[in-house]
């Protein structure tokens, strides 16, 4: 079996911020069942800052731990700061991932980008309407 770091196992066993945000400002879904991992990330944004993040993930230990870690990393960050979070940032925060898990199960940063894109599209749209 994969040998995960203690930090990965800790997040896997006690994932933070599991769930959904019904009135989320952005939702990012990435992955597919064939590769084994699907992640859905919800963000709530206020005054340009991510004030809440939640996730639901179908996947292996690494997929769950990276999802949990990314929610911890983004809460309290501005959108600009959040956009600097990469796969490497998430893996590093977890004390590393087994090499074959770096790509397939490290989806959290991708899901975050999709969620932010959705937020930007939505808020951009709102501003247009406000005008």
């Amino acid at each position: 079996m994969e040998k995960y770091t203690e930090k990965v196992m800790e997040h896997f066993q006690n994932p933070r911020n599991v769930g959904e945000i019904p009135d989320a400002d952005g939702v990012g879904t990435v992955g597919n069942p064939a590769c084994g991992d699907i992640m859905k990330l919800f963000i709530k944004v206020k005054d340009g800052k991510i004030v809440d993040a939640k996730f639901k993930t179908f996947g292996c230990g690494a997929a769950i731990a990276t999802s949990s870690m990314v929610t911890e990393l983004v809460i309290g960050k501005t959108i600009e700061e959040a956009l600097t979070i990469s796969k490497a940032t998430v893996a590093e925060a977890l004390g590393g991932l087994p090499p074959q898990k770096m790509h397939c199960s490290n989806l959290a940063a991708d899901a975050l980008k999709v969620a932010i894109d959705e937020y930007k599209a939505k808020s951009g749209g709102k501003k247009e309407e406000e005008k």
Binding site: M1, P33, G36, K56, F58, G61, A63, Q100
Partner: protein
Amino acid sequence: MKRKVYMDYASTTPVRPEVAEAMIPYIKEEFGNPQSLHSFGDKPKQAVDEARVKVAELIGALQEEIYFTSSGTESDNFALKGIALAHQKKGKHIITSEIEHHAVLHSAKSLEKLGFEVTYVPVDKFGLIDPQQVRSAIRKDTILVSIVHASNEVGTIEPIEEISKVVKEAGVIFHTDALQTAGTIPVSVNALGVDLMSLAAHQFYGPKGVAAIYIRKGIRITPFIDGGVQENGRRAGTENVPAIAGMGKACELAKSEIPGRVEALTKLRDKFIQGLLSKIEHAYLNGHPTKRLPGNVNISFEYIEGESMLLFLNIEGVAASSGSACTSRALKASHVLTAMGVPPEIAQGSLLFSLGAGNSVEDIDYVCQILPPIVERLRKMSPLYEEASKAGKGK
């Protein structure tokens, strides 16, 4: 102390104390080379000869039809490549199935690169091969058919007797990979009608590093390892005497104990399957309900992924396996489940518990107690479960 439950016997089995005892003299004092003319070789030679008789007796073969190898994988490689090379003048077509062990599948792929043509016969939803499919795949230039006796993953036992009739009618050589059956259920080379058979000691309480291949008398095959006279020149290399002695002992024990082992394991298996399916919703048995290995329990739990279940099981002291992509280095879902038409998201949620001599009713009860909360916990995290619940499919 925390409970430890080993349910991965399809991966490997522990060595029986009697087997270890049988090996020790050849690790310690009887170190001689069986091929030596001097007296140091006498006992080791005798040990190898006796072990060969015991392997032959287990599968109803003649002792001169048994060749020792280093692993089941080597036996499978030997069968496919040895027959292909020896018979390529007659033809270059080989038939195997989609659910073989990688030892057979990858040997077939290597032969394809050497100019051989391979047909992979499909299986039905239970993992069964239809002898008629084999019949229609046979061509004039077919030189070998290789079909697994029972899949190590889903445990479906193939109709080898019927397939061998079809193959014999066409005058083609027939090999079966019996790594999961020899030593586990009654296996007879004559009843099955096979020309070659692979079997490995560590699958039935023998040591690792030793296996055998049965080659019917009169079958032409190209030697697999060139060198000295060992194994009748067909598989050279100084004999692994301690391991071979251990394999002989494991065969002797298996021969007398198989009926009792099958009865006990079948009971445990059925109780386990029934327990898990009744306690957990959206769970499906993979493989055939009755034509399956006595210790094989392969179940898919919908909406969740296998590795995360294995990690939680491991924390609870339970060792099992999965057909999920994340548990394989190749990052692909089990080719066996895929061949059976199991959709990818269900294959990802498969767990394989393979039971053996160390398991008890208490072990079954323990896993039936700890697994439901693990499944529930992961489903609560799963976006697939959430969608299914919204669609009214989930609970």
